[in-house]
Subunit: 412 residues, 2 copies
């Protein structure tokens, strides 16, 4: 907290002390964590960071709103960054394409970054119960991080009826109290909000809690450091609630303000065509209108996103763009990514590849542009949809001659 000055409302600019359980402005606006950039840039630099032996999200502590050293033991962050020349070629790009595989976080998604921070803040607030509503990844990351910290803390998770079995299994193994709300995400969210209010639990809903965006931003802080602070022309993220995009915007503002980067990539926000309320607000310049949730990319199927303002500001401030993709393109992108790069991404992550493909095809992203993508979730979280994408195995009798006939017929 050394460099945190205050919380500030993004609407009315009112300021608040940075209390761990302060969520919204009295005007209803979202709050944002403000840092003393001047002091930060005098007391911290890229060189001292380079000497840090902490290969986790906590290496960016001067830019994180945490006190003391309360942190869950799981090793969150410092996920690998891969250069993907064959994927670039497949998409029609001539220059560098980078992919950061955040599906290799401890519970399999970028959400571990927000949850680790939430658990640290809950402990700071003296809370013994921490709750969220989630389509899955936020939930499993919260459950895992709470389990790793121990100390009697309990995670209470509200999930919509459609949450995939893999994600539920994880929650239950981690010992969370799992409440399967027999309805959609909106209903799960509303029940969680009411319960948090009623029982005074710590709120790990990323849109409301201003600290969580600070956890999410570490994905982009890392990306920048792994690229030796040479930012690409574009940075691609998929958008559900909007908090990951908000985190990216915050990371870029922080890094620019303290002089760690001298170029800000344009942000690309990808939504599924079957659930694109933020895209529509961006495209039409209008207020957000709730949408249905008709996509297999469950992690970004958010009909009533709670954080459109920060996400839209991030896209607009960077002269970014938004785009939608059909489910068929998402499945195709899963295959494309797996084959070209050895990364197995869940549909909501592969949507980023599909969106980039569209933008290259339509000329928004030029072949000579450099691009980075963040894959936010592990494909093992949703093998049912992977199977739809993957195609079929070759069925053959246990007979070498039959195999030979097939292989030689196929590859003359």
């Amino acid at each position: 907290m050394r460099y945190v000055t205050h919380l500030e409302c993004i609407v009315c600019k009112r300021r608040y002390p940075p209390d761990p359980d302060k969520y919204l402005c009295t005007c209803g606006g979202l709050l944002e964590v403000a840092y003393d950039y001047l002091r930060l840039s005098r007391e911290w630099d890229r060189m001292s960071l380079a000497h840090s032996a902490d290969y986790s999200m906590w290496r960016y502590r001067p830019l994180l709103p945490v006190r003391g050293d309360i942190r869950p033991p799981l090793r969150v962050g410092w996920t690998p960054l891969y250069q993907c020349p064959r994927l670039a070629e497949d998409l029609g790009l001539k220059d560098s394409l980078w992919l950061k595989d955040d599906g290799l976080n401890p519970t399999g998604s970028l959400k571990d970054r927000a949850s680790a921070l939430a658990v640290a803040k809950a402990r700071e607030a003296g809370a013994s119960t921490i709750a969220c509503s989630s389509t899955g990844n936020a939930a499993s990351s919260l459950a895992g991080n709470v389990a790793s910290l121990g100390g009697g803390m309990q995670a209470v998770i509200f999930v919509p009826k459609r949450a995939p079995q893999g994600k539920l299994a994880q929650l239950l193994i981690f010992g969370a109290k799992v409440i399967s709300v027999q309805g959609n995400y909106r209903e799960a969210y509303e029940l969680s909000a009411a319960a948090i209010q009623r029982w005074g639990w710590y709120n790990r809903n990323a849109a409301i809690n201003p600290y969580l965006v600070e956890g999410k931003k570490t994905a982009v802080l890392e990306l920048a450091e792994q690229l030796h602070w040479q930012m690409p022309d574009w940075l691609v993220l998929t958008v559900g609630d909007g908090c990951t995009m908000a985190g990216a915007g915050k990371a870029l503002r922080d890094l620019w303000s303290i002089g760690f980067i001298d170029k800000v990539p344009r942000l690309i926000g990808v939504q599924a065509a079957g659930c694109a309320p933020i895209y529509r607000a961006w495209a039409r310049g209008e207020q957000l209108i709730p949408a249905d949730e008709n996509t297999l990319a469950d992690s970004i199927a958010v009909g009533v996103p709670r954080n459109p303002d920060k996400a839209l500001a991030a896209v607009r401030d960077t002269q970014g763009v938004m785009v939608t993709v059909e489910d068929a393109e998402i499945l195709e992108a899963m295959k494309l990514l797996g084959r070209s790069s050895g990364v197995f991404a869940e549909p909501a992550s592969a949507a980023g590849v599909a969106g980039l493909k569209r933008l290259v095809a339509q000329g928004t992203v030029a072949p000579w542009h450099t691009v980075a993508l963040i894959s936010t979730g592990n494909g093992l979280k949703d093998t049912a949809n992977a199977l739809k994408a993957a195609g079929q195995a070759l069925k053959i009798e246990p007979d070498l001659d039959k195999l030979a006939a097939y292989l030689e017929g196929e590859t003359p």
Copy 2:
């Protein structure tokens, strides 16, 4: 390859030059990679290793049998090591218990270490096709590592007819040629062996190919370095075909021989009671007898293990022990591990926790002993069994009063 001197048969001690595609001795015995330990210990030390910025399995290159810098791009290794005080307490241990989560490798298992090495050796051998017969972790790690390397290399995977669709999905996403042999596992294995022979493909079979154990051993090299070379009293691994245990034994021998460690932990090998041929050979001091495969821990359900000799030698040479566990204990251990430590392990990994629990209960492992476990596979690989272990979510209508009735009824 700088420090590799030769390959040596573990049965007749005959020596061979370390060619990348040399598999077995003419006597049929397994080969082992030999290093010039004297030169290694003169030219390499723990301090120079500590300065390496390569946080992957390749940081141990002086102890790896690879030439040049051919390696698949996926970041394999340097998985996190956690101290688990609450798990220790649950098991009745008073001192340190460490868990290394190898399920956080790129395709979700320790097998990535062997596959990355196999792909490097295949490239060295000039092979463009690399094959194995498996439905599980070996297959997906091979497919993923091949996809990441590109360069026209093709993975060919032989699976039996019964291979579950979910597992095929990952292989197909990675673009492997998946051959579904319309027969049982033995027929799939035999067809793969015949095909490898006929077309001269590179053989990624961990028991046959002496280099793969060298990849697997990096899990223990890392563990030792992460523990600052202070080895625990016991090191727990689960045993299927025996190659991971063989790798552990090799790592300890290497580290001892070059003076990096001055204590060798006793190895604990855990098998599922429903498929325990290596345990039986160990307990009775007899030759191995094939077993049925009656356990839900599919990754260690190997009725005819191909590498019992190296595994048994590793356990015996370290004054280790073996133990079996029932499926019910494995499911219970998945839950115990998840709740106490935030690590989601597949059944074959959780079996290690179950085995340790047994050995503490029966007094073989004393409360004041220090122990390390390696969790070899990610729980997301097998969510069906996780659900059996975890229980069910609470299903509730989106209604706060109904939730209150439940919560208040539950916690008066």
